[in-house]
């Protein structure tokens, strides 16, 4: 019942998004192009690095590119639904949260829906293409269950991102000054797409258990890479996703409670 209601709302918000974007058609394409440029820049980094070394901690160029393709898929889906970059500014400082709280739907669902960003999904498609190309280049076998596993992994990764960024956005409920943490975090998330083995213990621990960005890249992607397959870590992706997602929701709810003056 509740899911259906939220889903229907999603359709409605999406409709309004599309209508908005149709009034600014040029912007739509600028956004798509800038998204893809962003990914291209990261690929360029990988290509430059592999001009100077045949392997990165035993991973070949195609393997690193494969992981990057996976990362792009998850990243695209995530950006489509969780667009909280200016949450603190728009909803807390400018006060739009008050309006959200006078509506009969969960506040996080409303805020997420108000900011849906479908062009990001194009990034996912490109990522899928990159992954496919690397798949072919590496000559990996294709099993019937691979697409299903991919979907489960992507859902897990997206949940991790959503949980983490929801948590970060919820900081705005506690601090009345603008927080610039989210863009800073953006830098860190990129480290999850390189072979985790190259880092020292501390950073490995950080990327696995504290800010589990490695589950949005190298761990789940390794499932398909026969040479580096780490089944345990790969299958932990949906589990960690559920945990981090739940944490995000809890922190958000507590934040809202505090915003409303009920929490401590």
């Amino acid at each position: 019942m509740r899911m259906r209601y939220t889903f229907e709302l999603f359709r409605e918000y999406l409709g309004n998004y599309i209508k908005t974007k149709l009034t600014y058609r040029a912007d739509f394409w600028v956004e798509v192009v800038s998204d893809l440029m962003f990914s291209l820049m990261n690929l360029i980094f990988i290509f430059i690095v592999f001009q100077h070394t045949p392997s990165l901690g035993d991973w070949s160029e195609a393997e690193v590119v494969f992981v990057y393709g996976y990362f792009m898929i998850a990243q695209g889906v995530f950006s489509c639904f969780t667009n909280l970059w200016n949450f603190g500014d728009r909803y807390i400082i400018k006060g739009e949260m008050d309006r959200v709280l006078t509506r009969p739907a969960h506040s996080l669902a409303q805020v997420m829906l108000e900011n849906v960003d479908p062009p990001s999904l194009i990034g996912s498609l490109v990522g899928l293409g990159i992954m496919g190309a690397a798949w072919a280049k590496l000559g990996l076998t294709f099993n019937w269950y691979d697409p299903i596993v991919l979907i489960v992994m992507v859902i897990g990764s997206v949940l991790i991102y959503t949980g983490l960024y929801t948590t970060l956005a919820a900081i705005s409920f506690y601090s009345d000054s603008p927080t610039g943490i989210i863009p800073l975090m953006y830098n860190i998330q990129s480290y999850g797409r390189y072979p985790i083995q190259i880092y020292n213990k501390g950073i490995r621990f950080l990327l696995t258990w504290v800010l589990p960005f490695a589950f949005v890249g190298v761990y789940p992607a390794s499932f398909f890479l026969e040479r580096h397959a780490d089944r345990t870590m790969a299958w932990l992706t949906p589990v960690v996703g559920l945990i981090v997602g739940a944490i995000g929701l809890i922190v958000w709810n507590r934040g809202v409670k505090r915003y409303r003056g009920a929490g401590s």
Binding site: Y5, E8, L9, E12, Y13, G15, N16, K19, T20, T23, Y24, G95, E96, M97, D98, R99, L101, T102, R103, P104, A105, H106, D176, K257, R260, G261, A262
Partner: protein
């Protein structure tokens, strides 16, 4: 039945203290200091269904905080609060289904697309059935004359047009209570009048309870049978508008325009024995201040017969002056004493003012 029932409602905030200067800022980096501010101090009031109530007070008096508690946005620090049979903050999602909220300074409509699209979305959000929505929309389009606005993007609307749409948006789900925060701010006189007429009609035809905050006392005069006045988090007046005027409107002023220059002493002599005060505006104009106990006609009869007068104007103390006067007289306690106590003695049914002392 009561639409709003508030008892001993209190709200405290922790406010960050910023220490001064570079050294202070450095200290703040490591240890923040907080002060506790009580925005709403144990207020109580009841609003029956179908009433239009004005909620006034200076900036920072606690108006918005109260509205936010009544609409379920904020959770009170202590006290009892019940709106529409719900405790607003507890069952927020169910509760807000039955209320409409308009924040005059903030839009609830999508900026870039036609107004109707926002309405459709709100229909889904509030789970209004297609039939009800149609009926309701038709009615609102007619009463607010939204006809040709529906397909225009919000950014292309004037402020007055936008406010009409905001009202419609808040009423699509037919709420039984409407909260308005500064609904006429920044609007021109014509639009203000239109909106007031609409609200009156809404109240008359649907029995919608309306609580509005405003800085424009004409809103109050045009709409409200009841006023709640807030100062520094406390209610300093709660009662009918007429009582407010009767109790605080201390007198009237009459301005005379004479045909020949006249000395003020002579005028004072004419009204000798009456407790009035004359002041001279210029050679040919004088003003007299007459307290409530004295009939204006008594004064007029003494002046009119003996002097050559070209024009007379009578000024009644406006609500605005009354309110300004109340705030000017200093602390909330004294003002509350002076207004509320006699009201309580008379046991006036509409006035339930309480002088709250902490």
């Amino acid at each position: 039945m009561l639409a709003i029932d508030v008892r001993q409602l209190r709200k405290q905030f922790n406010v960050q203290k910023n220490r001064e200067g570079l050294k202070g800022a450095m200290l703040d980096l490591f240890k923040r200091e907080h002060t506790q501010v009580t925005a709403v101090k144990d207020i109580s009031f009841q609003i029956p269904q179908g009433e239009i109530c004005g909620y006034i007070g200076e900036n920072g008096a606690g108006k918005s905080t109260t509205i936010k508690m009544l609409t379920g946005i904020l959770v009170p620090t202590s006290g009892h609060i019940e709106v529409n049979g719900y405790v607003p903050f507890r069952d927020r999602e169910k509760f807000v289904q039955g209320i409409g909220v308009v924040f005059g300074q903030r839009s609830q409509l999508w900026w870039d697309i036609g107004v109707i699209e926002s309405f459709r979305l709100l229909r889904k959000v509030y789970r209004v059935s297609e039939d009800d929505f149609k009926r309701r929309l038709d009615e609102l389009v007619e009463t607010l004359t939204l006809g040709e606005l529906l397909n225009r993007p919000v950014r292309k609307l004037s402020l007055g047009q936008r406010m009409r749409c905001e009202l419609a948006a808040a009423l699509l789900h037919n709420p039984s209570i409407l909260f308005l925060d500064e609904p006429t701010i920044g609007l021109d006189v014509v639009v203000k009048t239109e909106i007031r007429e609409f609200l009156k009609r809404l109240n008359r035809e649907h029995g919608t309870t309306i609580l509005l905050t405003t800085h424009d006392l004409q809103d109050i005069e045009a709409l409200c049978s009841r006023v709640i006045m807030l100062d520094d988090g406390r209610i300093i007046y709660d009662g009918g508008l007429e009582e407010l005027k009767a109790r605080w409107g201390k007198g009237r002023e009459v301005q005379f325009q004479f045909n020949d220059p006249i000395a003020i002493e002579r005028l004072a002599f004419l009204t000798g024995g009456l407790d009035v005060r004359w002041s001279k505006e210029n050679e040919l104009t004088a003003k007299v201040w007459i307290p409530l106990e004295i009939n204006v006609s008594d004064v007029l009869s003494r002046v009119v017969g003996t002097t050559d007068i070209s024009d007379i104007k009578i000024f009644e103390t406006s609500t605005e002056e009354i309110v300004r006067e109340i705030y000017r007289t200093g602390s909330a306690e004294t003002a509350a004493d002076r207004i509320a106590d006699p009201v309580r003695d008379e046991e006036a049914p509409t006035a339930q003012a309480e002088a709250v002392r902490s």
